[in-house]
């Protein structure tokens, strides 16, 4: 089974210290049914491999003889803006990807030695992923850490995720699944025995608002959470606090009340203040401007935290 199941992964990160308890190695799966405008890993949204571009790595078309431009079978790459190279003092001519023409074939990436252009999203077998995780094992043991399967939405690649979690448990490694909760119960149900902790996102308690902003309703998410709690699953609830979307006192109160319904299953609620650091990542894969907002104030975050603690729920701000 494990030889044949392949997952599409965009990153495997060691020393991941904020995706569950202890020191963890996190596997990021590509593809997500949600379209959160604030998403700080926009490359995680599509299931297919994508051409990405990091301007800082580009050494200028003069230096490389425009290899990307000439290698593209679709003529999707043209000369773009410039960047001042502070080392040489030279203005470097960079390129621009015509996204409407590009089909992510990767010819340019293969030609780009500095890896300014690269294909984001690679296929891995469970064995290959396990090998990387097991190398870090001694660090988990000391810190009470383990492995986290994240996304995108890992449950959108159910066979791979299930097999990976099984293998991790067979090795005695603590497992966490970082999920939007948006998946069919049949899929969710299967991973329960192999998942020690669910890092579970709650974005908005009003389904209409939820759908308007992230593209899907919240009922399956809330329903799955309740059923998971009944089955004895453990949660770290994560609430991204997004200005103008879910940062009203009413919504936070409602979210806290929902957490109360989950009862003992909730180990902690993490309030994650919005930050705009992901904006630069959007430009790697797209020309479209993304909306930006001011991060919520520390006072606001504190007041939200108190809403939870007043109700007897342990909450942290990250």
């Amino acid at each position: 089974m494990s030889e044949t199941v392949r997952g599409r992964i965009y990153d495997i990160q060691g020393f991941s210290v904020q995706d569950g308890p202890g020191i963890r190695t996190t596997v990021f799966l590509k593809g997500c049914p949600l379209r959160c405008p604030w998403c700080h890993s926009p490359e995680s949204q599509l299931f297919t491999p994508q051409l990405s571009w990091i301007s800082m790595r580009c050494i200028g078309t003069k230096m490389c003889d425009s290899r990307c431009v000439t290698s593209c079978p679709k003529q999707a790459i043209e000369l773009g803006g410039t960047r001042l190279d502070s080392a040489s003092g030279e203005e470097l001519q960079m390129v621009h990807v015509k996204r409407d023409v590009c089909d992510d074939c990767g010819e340019c990436a293969a030609a780009c030695h500095p890896h300014a252009l690269y294909i984001c999203g690679e296929e891995y077998t469970v064995d290959e992923v396990m090998k990387k995780i097991l190398a870090d094992r001694s660090f988990f043991e000391h810190s009470g850490g383990g492995a986290t399967v994240s996304g995108g939405e890992a449950l959108c690649q159910p066979e791979f995720t299930l097999e990976l979690l099984k293998r991790l448990k067979a090795e005695g490694i603590h497992t966490a699944l970082d999920t939007t909760g948006y998946a069919s119960w049949e899929v969710v149900e299967r991973v329960i025995p192999y998942t020690d902790l669910f890092l579970y996102d709650l974005k908005h308690m009003d389904s209409k608002k939820h759908r308007e902003t992230v593209g899907v309703p919240n009922e399956p998410i809330l329903e799955n959470a309740l059923r998971l709690a009944e089955c004895g699953a453990k949660f770290q609830i994560r609430i991204p606090v997004i200005p103008m979307f879910n940062d009203s006192v009413e919504n936070i109160e409602a979210t806290a009340d929902f957490c109360l319904k989950l009862g003992e299953a909730v180990e902690v609620v993490q309030l994650l203040p919005y930050h705009n650091l992901g904006v630069s990542k959007h430009l790697r894969i797209s020309d479209e401007k993304v909306a930006e907002a001011m991060p919520p104030s520390d006072e606001k975050m504190q007041s939200f935290k108190e809403i939870f603690t007043r109700k007897g729920i342990k909450a942290t701000i990250h």
């Binding site: 060691g14 700080h40 230096m63 080392a87 500095p114 660090f139």
Partner: protein
Amino acid sequence: MVKWNDITPRVQKMRARYRSTQPRLCTARYRLVTEFYMDNMQLTGILKRAKNFKNLCEKLPVLINDDEIIVGEQVTSYRASAIFPEITFRWIVDELTNGDPMARESDPYIVAEEDKEYILSTADFWLHNNMSQIWDEYLPEGYHAHSGNGMLMFHDENNTTTPVGHFCVDFNKAINKGFGAIKREAEEKMAEMEKNGLYGDSSKKYSFYRAVAIVSDGMIIWTKRYAAEAKRLAGLENDMDRRAELLGMSESLNRIMENPCETFQDAVQCIYLYYLALCLDGQQHGLSLGRVDQYLGKFYEADIAAGRLTPEKAQEIIDLFYLKLAEPNKMCQYDPTTIANPGYTSGNLVTMGGVDRDGKDATNPVTYLMLQASGRLILHSPPQALRIHKNTPDELWELAIETTKRAGGVPTFEYDGVIIPALVKRGMALEDARNYCLIGCVEPSGCGDEWAQPGGTGCESYINLVGAVLLAMNNGTNPMPGRDGKVKPNTGLKLGYLYDYKTFEEFQDAVRQQMEYFIRWHVSCENMWESVAEQIHPLPLVSATIEGCMEKGRDVMSGGAKYNSTGNSAIGIGNVAECLNVIKYAVFDKKLCTARELYDAVMADWEGYEELRQIIVNEVPHFGNALDECDQFSRWTAKVYADAINSSHGPRGRWSAGCYPVTLNTVMGWFTWASPDGRKKGSPLSDGISPVQGYDKSGPLACLNSVLGYDQTDFGNGTLLNMKLHPTSLKGEDGNRKLRAVMETYFERGGMELQLNIVSSDTLRKAQEHPEEYKDLVVRVAGFSAYFVEVFKDCQDDLIRRTEMAI
């Protein structure tokens, strides 16, 4: 949760004075030594050194600064630098004649006109009578053909830049026995020899004991002069509290040094004055203090029990002691090769924690006071090393991690579980190995019983291993031009050009041959230095306490210590490993380029070969990413180097391999031609045992996995691993636990030493200004990581703000 102790107003005031005083050159010592040497041409060897020291003790002005409790100065104004012409001299004449010490880019010094005139007026004498000049005469003849090889720091002239330094005397003996007893012991030995006749080698021993008696006298005289000064100042003092304090100090200074210490304050004062006396004698260079908490613990407990001391007062004394340790600095040759330690520091390393001689946890209340001093005063000097073992208390871990977050890389973390076996491997008894301390930079050594010369003798003992690759690929010629702007041909073995080697193994073997050949030359030159220094620069003040010397009647420089070794440190293991890895992968295995192309690219400093360089940087798998096919080369390089060093012998004992660069990896990089790993001419070499900068792309765990690939117990002279982390990922107590877990795992799997470089907001600002140099700096916030240079300016500013808040 760590609770930081209060800082008293006196400590605050003195810290402010420390931070705001511009160091200047003081010629008080210089003048006394010059007069003494000129007037005593008949004296040589150990008697000359002993009498010179005693003369300083009798005549050097004593200075007690306002508010001080712990006293001692080798200069006549606060934070000034003494000067040591008997070690190395020509540089100062050059700088005073052709330059301006105040115009230095780093560590400038004020030099008064009259001092400059005096130095220049006495230049003729010292130009012929300093250690460097004398040793240049003894440089092995055959070496001249090899100088300029790019691997060794020996040149045709000016070879001595420092004293031996890097050692730790037996402070316990000074504290618990006193120099009165040491002097009596020496005199008894002399009397016995006189009675029996100076037969056999006892004439040599006799002079040794005589020198010890003279320096012991010097120590007592100097300390009593401080007692008198404290009493004099008390007489002038209007503040009754300060007057009483000065009288108390005077009473203590009158008693200690000659007699055993009785109180905590006695012992701290005794440590400082003995340390400073060793500086004054000429050894100020990585002169280390050893296990200070172990010396002081029993005094602390006794004083507290007797009600003579409160924890608050003890903290103030330790704070003031640290401020005194921060003060000594030394104006050195302003030359890139010697500016390895900028920031007016003298590298007086202090060791804390660890196990005792029986293997039990040795932590005591003083351990905490010392970490508190570092974490609160945020001084980069003295550097601190914390010994970690399986039973290190949680509370100490917590305080140490909080300290390192505040004080940037202080303390370093040293693991008993690897270091003790490494010392046993090098011949030390288990009980003595358990009592080790760190000296110089990160070198493990016996505490008061070893003469290890780990930082070398009179020349920094470092070898640039990248030079071996360059010599192997360029038929024995270092492509880097010398100071005259010319390439000196054939300084290495002529084994061929990169494109001549038929197989990778043939090339690898050529690298091995160059390494072994120059390690032999390095050992030969250092050993020769020692044979000269033994004659003209014996160290009776060191030998008075180091275990073995008094028993054998022999100076440390002649092998008197119980344990003997000579240390060395390799620079650029990561680069050599990477060069081999690249050559194998790109030339022999994957044929991404020909050997000729790679050779031409390196010789052209990659000019016109950027495409190939990009392939090497980005498309070759590298050492540091937990890939065994790459990591095998660091293992190989480490082994070839360590075996060659560890099998070498000096006049006193065996050599000991190490791998710590201080900042010499940067400095040596300036003088190293481009290398096949994609490195450009003049760029820094790899740091300690770390992979090449920016090549460890798979995160910190993979990097640790890679550097654990070789046996660190082969490196009895120490290793250094700088782990760079972003503070936002380490917030709070939870972050501390994770950090501790990383360290514990690294240590238990064979790591010897680790220091944390928590990326500061300063670093982030630099990265903002020079993004190319910080391409791979990763920053993390909750569930997100990014290359810092890639995010927008506003976000960068935000990250800087977060970073400042997180620490």
